[in-house]
């Protein structure tokens, strides 16, 4: 997560320098390829950050105050909402991807 952050910062500086030197939007192949590789890193870093805080905090839900086991709802059948919400996220993710692909194709 931290590595990706530093990497993205470096790519940003590289881009800014290249733009400043050429006085235009830089179109060097090496830079553009690096930007393509860098694109998903922000998302991965965000997810990694969440995993660090959520998993790293266990077994506490509020560090030092309340355990996750004591905070869980008394409602039975929690598997149902788990499956429902997983499916919803899967569906939304699929649709967003499909629509993005469609938009990109339209532009090309």
């Amino acid at each position: 997560m931290v590595g990706f952050g530093v990497w993205m910062l470096a790519v940003g500086v590289w881009f800014a320098l290249a733009a400043w030197r050429s006085g235009a939007v830089p179109i060097g192949r090496r830079l553009l390829k690096t930007i393509v590789i860098t694109a998903p890193m922000g998302f991965i870093a965000i997810e990694a950050g969440w995993i660090v805080t959520e998993v790293g905090r266990q077994p506490w839900i509020i560090y030092g105050v309340m355990r996750t086991a004591d905070a869980v709802t008394p409602m039975p059948g929690l598997i149902t909402p788990l499956i429902t919400f997983s499916l919803v996220f899967l569906l939304l993710g699929t649709v967003v991807t499909a629509l993005l692909v469609q938009q990109v194709r339209k532009v090309r």
Partner: protein, 345 residues
């Protein structure tokens, strides 16, 4: 009655609920009319509805968030009771809100009639299901069927809300939202000569039908309250303001219908807003001093006073930012009639 900080927080919560009903309610109503679009101008009706809600409907959810945040921060045990024991209807409402938002966006980005229609129907079905569930939640907390023995929710996770009264409140909510939406759209179409004037007539008829539906739903809810929400019924019966409130609400309803008949749409909107304000205010007054009948009152579920003082300070500061922004938003996207009260001559 002593004025305490938690009472002020509860009043803010009711005000936020009212704003949600008046603003987001109309957006749900637009979805309901999208589902019920009929006749030769069906597509035009849908376009007008989409155009009316598009710039503002996301913002209108800020009021629901405010209700939930005040409940969570200020009245944690009542929050816990509602979110745990009413998990099923709350989850369905949440799924409906998510489905509505994404379907609305997906519809405008997708190509081809078939896929647009598919997203359109998901949008409109979610627009009906969500208000029903929100009404069911409000109906259940008023019914007294949700019971907490200090340790567990002894009434279970289905029985409290699987009763006629909560569903009547759900239907009442749908009728109110449809009524508000149709009335607002009539104002929206004023002076828009490039759009077929027959569409405005369509929505005028819809507003009148919805006004009648609000009346029927109110009567049914009222009748069911005797057996379905006895505490509310008892609470109301001794109050001096019971009949004045009823008469004022009925007068506003008649005013809205008369204005619609005479095509004075801005006045109709004003009457509709007064009518719905009295209904929501009446609900709050009838529920008082409870948040969840009968085990959680405002006082018994309140967080310590210091929490409420901080909460109220945050609400005050937030309002300084939010209210001017909302004013600009509505003024920009809804034009000079955004805050008009009566029709121009």
């Amino acid at each position: 009655m002593e004025l305490t900080v938690e009472l002020v927080s509860a009043a803010c919560m009711l005000a936020a609920l009212l704003a949600y009903v008046l603003l987001a309610g109309a957006d749900f109503g637009a979805g309901i009319w999208d589902l019920l679009a009929t006749g030769p101008r069906r597509q035009l009706q849908r376009d007008v509805l989409a155009h009316s809600v598009a710039p503002i409907w996301d913002t209108n959810h800020v009021w629901l968030i405010l209700v939930v945040v005040i409940l969570l921060t200020g009245f944690p045990s009542a929050f816990s009771a509602i979110m745990t024991a009413l998990r099923v209807p709350v989850t369905i409402a949440l799924l409906g809100i998510v489905a509505r938002g994404s379907a609305f966006v997906f519809r405008s980005y997708s190509h081809g009639n078939a896929s647009q229609q598919r997203w359109g129907s998901l949008f409109s079905i979610a627009s009906v299901v969500t208000p029903i569930m929100l009404g069911v939640v409000l109906g259940t907390i008023a019914s007294g069927a949700l019971r907490w023995d200090g340790d567990t929710y002894i009434s279970g996770f289905f029985a409290p809300w699987c009763a006629p009264f909560p569903w009547a409140v759900g239907a009442f909510a749908v009728a109110i939202f449809a009524f508000l939406a149709a009335t607002y759209v009539c104002v929206e179409l004023l002076g828009r000569s490039q759009i077929d004037p027959a569409v405005q007539e369509d929505f005028r008829r819809r507003a009148l039908v919805a006004a009648a539906a609000v009346g029927v739903a109110a009567a049914v809810t009222w009748l069911l309250a005797r057996s379905g929400a006895p505490a509310i019924e008892r609470n109301l019966s001794g109050q001096w303001w019971k009949w004045p409130l009823q008469i004022a609400t009925a007068a506003a309803a008649i005013g809205a219908i008369a204005s619609l008949v005479r095509r004075r749409y801005v006045l109709a909107r004003t009457c509709a807003v007064i009518q719905v304000t009295l209904i929501v205010g009446g609900f709050g007054a009838a529920l008082f001093p409870f948040l969840v009948v009968p085990d959680f009152t405002i006082a018994s579920s309140a967080a310590p006073p210091v929490t409420h003082r901080l909460l109220l300070a945050a609400i005050g500061l937030g309002a300084l930012l939010l209210l001017p922004s909302l004013y600009v938003l509505f003024r920009v996207f809804k034009g000079r009639r955004a805050f008009a009260v009566i029709d121009e001559e």
